[in-house]
Subunit: 153 residues, 2 copies
DNA sequence: TTGCGTGCAAAGGTTTTGCATGGCA
DNA sequence: TGCCATGCAAAACCTTTGCACGCAA
């Protein structure tokens, strides 16, 4: 049966995923970052293991910018079905937005445009507050929001 | 100077783009579809020309589902800076949504979440009305919408 | 000992590039 | 004629797969 052995490579990859939770990364980043800390792992192993985790839902997989597939560890799969994800095009961080306005947008698209939005597949692209600040653009005061509106890393 | 010659291949590719305006397609689709109608064109030419058009903005380029880059001809570049795009995950058609609710969502993300959404990069994924109908899901009545709300192919 | 897990190397696929040839102006 | 455009083939990628060996149980 698949995945029944507790190997060194699996442990090291899992701990990498924990550390970089919710951030995206490529297969090569995994290989080299682990190699830098003296933990040798084959590329095939990383591909195979990430694929396996993607199938069971604890890792998300999507096409990256330069033809390099990006992976991202998600803590709790079920939690991500009903809210949206914003990805910062600069730092690559993924933010989760759970917010009544987003939900009403979903309803609006359905009612007025006949489009059934899929929150799991959709990723909103833009610049996060941190990166706008670094860019020199003044970080605006982030207003207190109406009820039922949250975002988190 | 680049692009100064008016060749047969360029004309045929341009007419293909006109026909499939706003739809996405791969390099191979271009090659084979043109070849089927007796217009022979090399893969490299298609790659090079689409890349060129992408740089100048009349073609959009984004990673497809199976590692195959998808291209899409846009009529008027400027027009697409201020509205959103929804892509049907089944038929691949791209819909343009220009709608006050979408704009207020952008403002909301900025004000309450500090996130500066980029409408040019963001693509909303879901199922379009047609494909939901084909799926057997009853096509809901699409309500008349509030002012300032449009969508088009 | 058994059989899954691993890693190398090869294969498979897409995209890019070098270079000789073809064709527009 | 001059020079860009084209297309083939090779190269450069990323990813998958086959297979022998290693290692957990």
């Amino acid at each position: 049966m698949r995945g029944s052995y507790n190997t060194r490579q699996k442990r090291e990859l899992l701990s990498f995923l924990q550390e970089r939770s919710m951030q995206h990364f490529s297969v090569d980043e995994v290989v080299f970052e682990l190699r830098d800390r003296g933990e040798k792992i084959g590329r095939s192993t990383v591909y195979r293991y990430l694929e396996q985790l993607a199938e069971q839902g604890s890792v998300r997989k999507y096409p990256g910018v330069e033809g390099v597939t990006q992976y991202q560890h998600v803590e709790d799969t079920d939690r991500c079905d009903d809210h949206f994800h914003m990805m910062c095009s600069r730092c690559g961080n993924l933010l989760h937005v759970d917010c009544s306005l987003m939900r009403s947008m979903t309803e609006h698209l359905m009612a007025c445009h006949g489009f059934k939005l899929d929150p799991r597949e959709t990723i909103l692209i833009g610049l996060c507050a941190k990166c706008r600040a670094v860019d020199g653009e003044e970080a605006d005061h982030v207003a207190d929001c109406h009820e039922g509106c949250h975002h988190s890393l």
